[in-house]
Amino acid sequence: MKKLIFLFGLAFTIFSCAQPKNDPATTVSNQDEKTMAVAKLMKGYVDNNFDGSILSDDCIVRFNNIELKKADFMGLAQFHHSMFDNIKFPDGWIETISYHGENWKEGNGDTWTNQWTDWTATSKITNETHTNRSHFNYKWENGKIVEVNALFSDLWYDKEVKLFMEKQN
C-alpha cells in the first residue's frame, strides 16, 4: 500500500512539474466550466427560460452601441419569443481565455469567454427567416459575468421591431 501511495505521489509530482501552475502563458479552453456556463446561459435564452444568476447584478451589457442593464438583457428573451418563432442560437465556437504573463497592460489577469455563432429566427409577422452572424464576449470576475458585448447586424432586427411595435399600437 505504501508503495502504491508513493508511486501515485511520484507520478503527480512529475506531471505537475511538466505543467507548472505558474506557467505565464495565456491559455485558451473550450471545455472549461465558464465556457459551459455561457453555453447554458444562451440555451436558456433559446428555451425562453433565461437564467441570469451567472450575471452580476451590475453587469454591463452592450448590444452594438446600445448599453443595457441586466434586467433589460434578461427581458430580451421574452420579447424575442413574442416576436419570433424557431429562435436558434447554437453554441458555435465558445472559448475562454485567461490572460496571464505577457504585457497585457490593464487586461492582465482578466478572463473572457468569446462566442462566435449564428442567431436565426422566423418572424411571427412576416414569416421571414433570418440568420445573423454574431459575436458575444463575456468578462468574468469572481465567478460572475460582469460585462457582455454583443456584435451583429441590426438591419433585419430593427425592421422587425418597428413592425412589431406598429402592430401593438
Binding site: 502504491l4 508511486l7 501515485f8 507520478a11 503527480f12 506531471f15 505543467q19 502563458a25 495565456t26 491559455t27 485558451v28 479552453s29 473550450n30 471545455q31 472549461d32 452592450r62 452594438n64 452601441n65 472559448e95 481565455i97 490572460y99 505577457e102 504585457n103 497585457w104 487586461g107 468569446n114 462566435w116 449564428d118 440568420t131 445573423n132 452572424r133 454574431s134 459575436h135 464576449n137 458585448n149 456584435l151 451583429f152 447586424s153 441590426d154 438591419l155 430593427d158
Partner: protein, 161 residues
C-alpha cells in the same frame, strides 16, 4: 502490478483532461503585429500589407455575407470617401495557437471601437467591431468581420443624394 499501472494511467489521464487546454494566446507575435499593421494602414487609406498577406482566393465575410479580397479592399477604401478621421483608439489584437486537437490552427482576433467623422454631416460616429483572421503558411486565408452596418449604410445612401 498490472492493476497498479492501470490505476496510474487512469489517474494521470484524468489529471491531464482536467487541464482543459485548447491553445495558447499571444499579443506580441508576428501575426498580431501584421493585423495591427493592416489596421494602421487602413486608417491612412493604404492597403499594402492586406494586399500582400490576404490570399487572393481566401474566404472573406462581412456579417456572414461573402466577399472577394478585392471587394473587401474596395469597401475599406470607400470608407475614406465617406469619412475623415478614421481611427480605432480602443483596440485589442491577439493570436491563438490551437493545439493538435484543433488541427494546430492559428487565428488572430481584433476587437475595436471604430471611430470616424462623416464628410457629409460632420457628425462623429463610433461602432464596435470584431474581426477573426485564420492563418495558413503565413497568409490570411479566411477573415470574418462582425459589426452593425446600419450607420454605414445610411452614410452610403446619404452620399448618393
Amino acid at each position: 502490478m498490472k492493476k497498479l499501472f492501470f490505476l496510474l494511467f487512469i489517474s494521470l489521464s484524468t489529471y491531464s483532461f482536467a487541464q482543459e487546454i485548447t491553445g495558447k494566446t499571444r499579443t506580441t507575435d508576428k501575426y498580431s503585429n501584421a493585423i495591427r499593421q493592416i489596421n494602421d494602414e487602413y486608417f491612412k487609406n493604404d492597403f499594402t500589407t492586406i494586399n500582400q498577406i490576404f490570399a487572393d482566393d481566401g474566404s472573406y465575410t462581412i456579417n456572414g455575407d461573402n466577399f472577394t479580397k478585392n471587394q473587401i479592399i474596395e469597401g475599406f477604401a470607400m470608407h475614406h470617401n465617406l469619412y475623415t478621421k478614421i481611427k480605432m483608439p480602443q483596440n485589442f489584437v491577439d493570436t491563438t495557437f490551437y493545439d493538435e486537437n484543433n488541427n494546430n490552427q492559428v487565428w488572430s482576433h481584433l476587437w475595436g471601437l471604430w471611430e470616424a467623422t462623416s464628410k457629409k454631416s460632420g457628425k462623429s460616429t463610433s461602432n464596435p467591431v470584431n474581426v477573426s483572421f485564420k492563418w495558413v503558411d503565413g497568409r490570411v486565408v479566411s477573415a470574418s468581420w462582425i459589426f452593425d452596418p446600419t450607420e454605414l449604410n445610411e452614410e452610403i445612401i446619404a452620399s448618393q443624394k
